[in-house]
């Protein structure tokens, strides 16, 4: 009986939290990327929740299907709600897919495939930024900008009938500031994502990760890129649908 007790005392604990190994089973940089994205999620939710609070507290608000009913870059000015933003959403989801495919190719150490999918992701990001530039330019040409709204004649088109001009102007100011701040902050994330993706693509081309024996860096920037896509899913819902 005494031997049994000794055995129990001497037994080395091998649970994840007993030390000697990473309990989360992820590399340091990847875990830190997760925690950075968590903090970024708080930043974006603060912005979006402030938007929600201001919109709830306003007696009226510009109707999304009236504000976003044109396709910038073409001659379609009216009657096409959600078409352009639908295209933007599709581009970003597709670039997310090419990013996962790059990560998947990295697991197989297939350098050429990683390069191909990374370039596709960069192109997707650039296309999204181009669309956003057109969208901003279109709203700017109508008169929207930070602290700037269109004249009363144009403004009328964005509201249901019978909304007093004072209310229209007040909520349009809030709408313009929030729209450009939030989509701008998101667009800045897309821009940094594209820059980081380009750097990683160059590294893949130089064979940095092949020498290292692991394409974990592709996975880490992949996390960032998917997060940008994730934020867009929320921006899309709360600015264009609700």
């Amino acid at each position: 009986m005494s031997t049994v007790v000794t055995q129990q005392v001497d037994e080395v604990k091998s649970t994840p939290w007993s030390g000697g190994r990473s309990p989360f089973n992820v590399e340091y940089g990847k875990m830190m990327m997760w925690f950075f994205l968590l903090s970024d999620a708080f930043t974006f939710s603060s912005l979006l929740i402030s938007y929600g609070a201001l919109r709830f507290s306003a007696p009226t608000w510009p109707t999304p299907s009236l504000v976003f009913q044109s396709v910038p870059g073409t001659s379609i000015e009216h009657g096409a709600p959600l078409v352009f933003v639908g295209l933007m959403t599709l581009i970003l989801i597709l670039s997310s897919v090419t990013m996962v495919l790059a990560v998947e190719a990295g697991h197989r150490n297939a350098r050429k495939e990683v390069v191909g999918w990374m370039i596709a992701t960069v192109i997707g990001g650039l296309m999204f930024l181009g669309c956003q530039a057109l969208e901003w330019n279109h709203l700017h040409s109508e008169g929207f900008w930070w602290s700037a709204i269109p004249n009363a004649e144009t403004l009328k088109e964005f509201f249901k009938e019978g909304v007093p001009l004072g209310q229209q102007q007040m909520s349009s100011h809030q709408f313009a500031n929030l729209f450009f701040t939030i989509t701008g902050f998101h667009g800045f994330h897309v821009f940094s994502g594209v820059v980081i993706n380009i750097i990683i693509t160059i590294n893949v081309l130089l064979g940095t990760y092949e020498k290292r024996g692991s394409y974990l860096m592709v996975e880490k920037v992949g996390l960032y890129w998917h997060f940008v896509d994730l934020v867009w899913v929320f921006v899309f819902t709360f600015f264009y649908l609700v």
Partner: protein
């Protein structure tokens, strides 16, 4: 499917190299995201105009958005296949956001009352 991935994951738990996402599964998740977005468009363009002022439209959008978020985080970002500890470390802090939503929604109701009292 999940029990199958769980066993694969345990077998490879020695190193951070999991085979959670095959090309087939990536495409499947893509079609799910595309399908949900298509449903959102259908609701926005066909259903919503028939029911102006309906209160149940926005909850549909929000639920569908959260489903999309689940698929992006779970599959594309691979969180579903990570250790439970990491999943909890990421998901539990996010729950604090619900607190901010409740506080600011409450506050915004006060603001709109104040506005109507002041005649703004």
């Amino acid at each position: 499917m999940s029990s199958e991935t769980a066993t694969i994951h345990h077998a490879e738990a020695v190193h951070g190299d999991h085979e959670g996402m095959t090309k087939k599964r990536i495409l499947k998740v893509f079609y799910i995201l595309l399908g949900i977005t298509a449903i959102e468009f259908f609701v926005a363009l066909v259903i919503a105009p028939k029911h102006p002022g309906a209160l149940w439209i926005n909850p549909i959008y929000i639920v569908l958005t959260l489903v999309k978020a689940f698929y992006i985080i779970g599959y594309f970002m691979h969180l579903k296949f990570e250790k439970t500890g990491l999943i909890l470390a990421i998901v539990i802090p996010v729950l604090f956001i619900i607190g901010l939503i409740l506080v600011l929604t409450n506050e915004s109701h006060y603001w709109i009352d104040l506005r109507s009292q002041l005649g703004l």
